[in-house]
Symmetry: C2
Subunit: 122 residues, 2 copies
DNA sequence: CAAGGTAGTATCCTATAGGAAACTACTTCC
DNA sequence: GGAAGTAGTTTCCTATAGGATACTACCTTG
């Protein structure tokens, strides 16, 4: 009897693995989830707003990550016609489809922290 | 009027950002989602099974990531009492709580790919 | 005209994530 | 006894992610 694949090498399973890679490559790096998470809460935010809200990020990374997200049509960059020029970053409609994923991420993190500090059942 | 935080610096918002960081640190790296995703499908898998199923991973990375996951109580490592010694990796009950998150990740990836290759609405 | 706000760029540097390949150690099959 | 399977470990190497810092450029306010 020849050794068969243990799980599925059916299309559906290949697709699943591919899909995980895709999502990870779009949301790669240390900051994208934070930025998106902040924009979900904040609706429309300027560059300096995000710099303040996203704890620990610097201008270089913020600038670069915002460009990445914009290129993938997850956020809008709107240069406003104000006296000191301001820029409004916001989620696109498409970017909003990430909300369930990010909520799930946050939900699990909350419950993870509880499982460690709440009850030391080790 | 003093400049106030634009979003919320309320506890709930701090907690959310913290939670995202927590989840990301537990699931950091290139492979953890793939490994967990495979174990969700495969139930119980050996080292070589995982090496075959997780496309592109090498022994060093697989070994290291499995150790990480085990340390965080997300997977079990069971050395079986077989003739050529085998090891069974499986999700812990706690690890299974990641299923919704990973499903969400995969779901979004599938729909992302469709949005690119399906309809070129650029 | 200096200070402070807006929104970034540019440069330099380093820690580390992760790949490739070789190697251990044990067993069973042919 | 050599090949092939189990499950890893070790070493060496490099690309790059990301931090710190300084800088541009424009506008407003005192």
């Amino acid at each position: 009897m020849k050794k068969k694949a243990v799980v599925n090498n059916t299309p559906v399973c290949q697709v699943r693995m591919q899909a995980i890679s895709d999502t990870m490559s779009v949301l790669s790096g240390k900051w994208k989830f934070h930025i998106l998470g902040t924009l979900i809460e904040g609706n429309k935010l300027g560059f300096m707003d995000l710099l303040r809200e996203v704890n620990g990020i610097g201008t270089k990374m913020l600038s670069k990550e915002l460009q990445d997200l914009e290129m993938n049509h997850l956020i809008n960059r709107n240069v406003m016609n104000t006296k000191p020029i301001t820029v409004e970053y916001s989620l696109t409609e498409y970017g909003k489809t990430l909300a369930p994923l990010i909520d799930e991420l946050a939900k699990w993190g909350v419950q993870y922290r509880q499982s460690i500090y709440g009850l030391e059942r080790d």
